[in-house]
Amino acid sequence: MKRVSRRDILKGSAAVAAGTLAPSGKVLAQAPAPATITPELIKAAQKEGRVVWYTSLDLPVSERVAKQFSVRYPGITPRVERTGAERVFQRIGQEYGSKIHAVDVVQSSDAAHFIVWKRDGILTPYVPEDVAQHWPADHRDPDGQFATFRAWLCCLGYNTNMVKAPEAPKSFADLLDPKWSGKMVKAHPGYSGTIMTATFQIARDLGWEYLEKLAKQKVMQVQSSADPPKKLALGERAVMADGNEYNMFQEKEAGRPVEIVYPTEGTPLIIGPNALMKAAPNPNAARLFQSYCYTAECQQLLIDVGGLRSVHPQTKEKAGRTVFATIKKLKDDPAGVDKSAEMIKKRYSQLFGV
């Protein structure tokens, strides 16, 4: 069967140049000057009155960001369109393929998507003031088309009522112990960008043999990486083989019997950028929203309410959470994910059956 490149969906079957570009591989343009939130921008945004945000950020958190934005800028109602990152990607491809330009700002937990969108020329350069002033170079596109909106880890975890701390798994390798057979839950890389990114890192660093063995452990397969923490909280499964650290913080801090495990091999690092669409139907509201997303206020909200990590130096980590810098991480590599995403999906569904 013929392999379809990730951009086919955006460009139809028209011939496309071969080869992939890393974000820094070819500088198309200089990043534009930093954009400040001006009264004119607010006025123009309020005139549009709405902004549509496609995101893979878990619904309660993304709705909270939207709510806070509309409190800060009355008269503009954000609409949150949340689904898994891989669905967001497919949806934008399908909609753009049919010339439907509904999305203003896009957010995805699969950073590789931004490489594709940039390559396809559907993003527009825009550098919010906070990004220009505070963002480290490796968290922003040199051409100013996207920047890290949120960061988190794809960790392991367990239900403390069902597993005592000493018996809990400490590493990915521990999950292959037969005693966890039928007791684990994990999310799907065909739905979740977090899991796609994590699966890439795990396959790269631990090898596919690990996943082959894990597939034999009768894991419960859910879709979103936000779901395994919820399944742990319900007590539906004792251990999660992957899932969002930020949902684990939320559950834990709400008093649910869950505990995070940062595997000894290293925890997959997930980066979720935000970007502005070139064909945004509400361009001013989109700019305002994009700027707001990187403010210290919004970033702190992500930390406090969402349990996420921020690269904004003016934010404070919440007490009681393991300090981000101290956690051993697997290296993220969006360009690598871009190259192997389809292979990962195919191989994964062969192993896990769905």
Binding site: T77, T83, G84, S98, I100, M162, M220, R256, E342
Partner: protein, 574 residues
């Protein structure tokens, strides 16, 4: 005189009068062709080409040779066969008890069967997750609580093929129940009386008279149950995927995930279509023989069998069975809506309105409710109108070629929702008709799906209303359309309202076509529930689900208040 005014109007307009029958027939034939023939042609075309558009049989080779497609096909057939057998085992005795015995609360039983009939199957599947997930399920918790069993032990595992078969049966058995109960209602009591007078025991009468007369309806019901189970999308997506297996419908849907493979999706849809057509032919042949059940003309009411000492055990069993599709799942949803954690029992201390508040604060909720309501109302209105005209033309044999129209209006019954979704997607994402991204593509899907049932209901209504009044109107100078509007339509009002409600209810719970066709701006409630399911937001699902049920029951109760409405029509599952 009520007919004076239209007649007068007709007289005034006489010089310009044109009989609109032919243009109407042609217009409707064209419309139906667009509705049905266009998407199906695209489906066949896509299944026979490769990515570049060249002819190939490769899609079918892939379909039948690769295990990743063969396994779902086998699973689906196993699933559909077992579900139809289970449904039959539950529904046939229940139908007999309700129709032919003095079972107390028979009307309540019928009402509860209607309740499971209108419950969206995907909602039932989610509710059963809350009840019978191996560890967190309420029933398994109860089991461990009662027996003191260890954590991790369970008696039910809903995430399994058996679990899926069970849940599908819960929401499919009403099809058999309704057909069997209606057939038994109609069996003349005289035949059974004759049997007993000639010395036949109760068992002999049952074996030689009652069962043979009810058998065609039972078989027909089993076939419909088979089709429903085969074409359902929601329940397998909710219960099979966590267990790590696919059915054909979830597989077809997964082919739309990135990178989309519409050619394979089209090829995978065709076996479902072919099987459905074949099974419906079989059903037609079986139902066609049903004529003999009323040999002897009109006779007395069926004789009710006295259950005697079995009366209360029978009531217990029937209500016990009805716990499964109705009481338990509704309880679980209600519990989840007001509980801080979906599968924790609500107590006065922990009850919360958080889920309610969260659900209504979602920015998608409003637009989804609005889309659902608009689409439900539009589909119901247009569908009823179309069925009204097509029904008239075919029943009154108004023009030559009416048979073709009747056939076209019934044909969509053979198209599973997800197959129609794929066909419409292929047809309306490219010029000349780009409807994808608008609610019109969903309207087309819903209209096509609901037309057969609406057409069947209204044709029988036409048959029940004689021609005399209409003829009188025509003699007085009205055209066909005027007669239809001023004479027949008012007489049909009850049926029209019933059909409208029926389509409305069926539309708002449709998932399998909508899941292929929606965009962010055209999301409907069923799709929103499915979205929430994928991220595990069970509380919000419970709230939306209960809201949907509330709306549905309001409409169903409205239907039941209208005298003479039969629930025997096919309600399509999603």
């Amino acid at each position: 005189m009520t007919i004076a005014l239209p007649a007068e109007a007709a007289v005034q307009r006489r010089p310009f009068k044109i009989d609109m029958s032919w243009p109407v027939l042609l217009a409707f034939a064209a419309l139906l062709c667009v509705l049905i023939v266009l998407p199906m042609s695209w489906l066949v075309y896509y299944s026979l080409v490769d990515k570049a558009g060249a002819f190939t049989l490769g899609n079918f080779v892939t379909l039948f040779s690769e295990p990743e497609f063969r396994a779902p096909l086998v699973t689906t057939l196993m699933l559909a066969t077992s579900a139809s057998i289970f449904c039959c085992l539950a529904a046939a005795p229940m139908g007999w008890l309700v129709a032919r015995t003095d079972l107390p609360f028979a009307n309540a039983v019928r009402a509860l069967v209607t309740a499971s009939f209108v419950t969206p199957p995907f909602l039932g599947a989610i509710a059963w997750e809350l009840l019978a997930a191996p560890n967190s399920g309420l029933l398994n918790k109860l089991y461990r609580h009662l027996t003191g069993a260890e954590m991790g032990e369970h008696i039910f595992n809903i995430y399994s093929l058996t679990g899926l078969i069970f849940v599908i049966s819960c929401y499919t058995f009403p099809y058999i129940f309704v057909l069997v109960a209606n057939a038994l209602d109609r069996i003349p009591g005289d035949l059974e009386d004759a049997s007993s007078m000639l010395g036949g025991s109760a068992a002999t009468t049952a074996r030689r008279i009652t069962i043979p007369l009810a058998l065609p309806a039972l078989l027909a019901g089993m076939l419909i149950a088979f089709l429903q189970a085969m074409t359902l999308f929601g329940s397998p997506a909710i219960l099979a995927l966590p267990a790590g297996f696919h059915t054909m419908t979830t597989k077809i849907w997964s082919l739309f995930q990135f990178p989309p493979k519409p050619e394979l999706a089209a090829a995978a849809s065709l076996p479902l279509l072919v099987l459905t057509v074949m099974l419906l032919r079989a059903q037609h042949m079986i139902l066609g023989r049903k004529g003999y059940s009323v040999v002897g003309g009109k006779t007395g009411d069926p004789r009710l069998i006295r259950l005697g000492v079995w009366k209360w055990p029978a009531v217990a069993v029937v209500f016990g069975v009805l716990m499964l599709p109705v009481f338990l799942p509704y309880f679980a949803l209600f519990n989840a809506a007001f509980s801080p954690i979906a599968t924790t029992l609500v107590t006065p201390e922990n009850a919360t309105l958080k889920n309610l508040w969260f659900t209504f604060s979602l920015s998608s909720t409003k637009i989804a409710l609005q889309n659902t309501f608009v689409l439900g109302a539009l589909t119901a209105t247009l569908g009823t109108a179309m069925a009204l005209v097509i029904g008239y033309i075919t029943v009154r044999r108004a023009v030559v070629g009416h048979q073709a129209l009747g056939f076209l209006a019934t044909a969509p019954i053979a198209i599973p929702g997800i197959v129609l979704g794929v066909g419409l997607f292929l047809a309306y994402t490219q010029p000349p008709f780009v409807l994808y991204g608008t609610i019109w593509i969903l309207l087309l899907a819903y209209l096509t799906i609901e037309l057969p049932a609406a057409f069947q209901q209204l044709s029988s209504a036409y048959k029940a209303v004689g021609n005399d009044l209409e003829d009188a109107s025509r003699i007085l100078g009205a055209t066909r359309l005027q007669a239809l509007r001023h004479i027949t339509a008012p007489l049909l009002r009850t049926s029209v309202i019933a059909t409208w409600c029926f389509i409305f209810v069926a539309t708002i719970r449709e998932l399998s076509a909508a899941i292929i066709l929606f965009t962010s701006d055209t999301k409907v409630v069923s799709v929103l529930i499915f979205d929430l399911k994928e991220s595990g937001d069970l509380g919000a699902i419970a709230v939306l689900g209960l809201l949907m049920l509330l709306l549905t029951f309001a409409v169903v109760i409205a239907i039941n208040r209208i005298p003479g409405f039969g629930a025997a029509q096919r309600l399509r599952n999603t």
